[in-house]
Amino acid sequence: MTLDQLLDRLYATPIATVLRENALLFPWVEGLHVLAITMVFGSISIVDVRLMGLASRERSVDQMSAAVLPVTWAAFTIALITGSLLFASNAPGYAHNFYFRCKLALIVLAGINMLIFQVVLNPNTNRNAAADVIPRSDRIVGALSIGLWMAVIACGRWIGFTMIGGS
């Protein structure tokens, strides 16, 4: 089966059809998606500004992560589920949309950035609890993360303006 056939099959699923044809359901799912993605960006930015040493320096990176990242993950899960539903409602349209493709690529990059930090950098970084010195790797990871998530949101908004019938 080609990708286009797969997209058509997704488009024809009952759940995609309901979302497409029910005038009330789509805005509710989209509202939840917007709420979730703003929480992903907002919460991760709290950790990112700490990594960059711009705020919350009296608390360690680990303390900040423990307090904030559960919110990020919960929000990301909701964004992923609602995003998949919205995608299914017009799978071929979104899959061929330039900004949708950019958005997916940027999310993958943000994930790689996070993985590099968690797996490679964080275990090998020597930090004081009070963070007198901010490691350069922390600053770079934090800045990249904020920048990538901002671009994800920008792409998301542009999808609405480049899809037929979007708003």
Binding site: A23, P27, W28, E30, G31, V34, L35, I37, T38, M39, V40, F41, G42, S43, S45, I46, A55, S56, R59, A67, V68, V71, M150, I153, A154, G156, R157, W158, G160, F161, S167
Partner: protein
Amino acid sequence: MVPALTVIVALDEFCSWLEKTPVSLTIQTAEWIIPTVQTLHILSIGLLMSAVLMIDLRLLGWSAADQPVMRVAARFMPVLWRTLPVLLLSGLIMIVAEPARSLENFAFQLKMLLLALIVALTYNVSRRIDTNRWISASAWMRKGFPLVSLALWVSIVFAGRWIAYVRVQ
């Protein structure tokens, strides 16, 4: 004429005037302005909502319980007060571009009402925390405010998205 009808007619005339002003026409014609402003608006919502969540979770005692309320408020209240003007300004640009789409829209009107309510409430609570009077607030207030705050802010975000879907005659 009935007063309510007078207001509606006046609002209608104001919208028709505003959408023909040069500044409105400029925003309407330049295709990049509205998506850019909306992106800025959403990013600011993200910062504001996360700050609100951090404060409210702390007030409820569900997160950062080892931190004093005053310190959490000192870290996140300024985020709220700084992003709010950005939200109002970016919102204003969207109103100028399409006045009737928002001003005559029930979802928008509800959004503004809820916003005024939660900003007034939050300002009050913020002052109490700063002046160390929050501890003496009633238990109902200390647990009720963060829950009301979360409910109102979430409603405001949903109402905002609904502006695009509520039909304005």
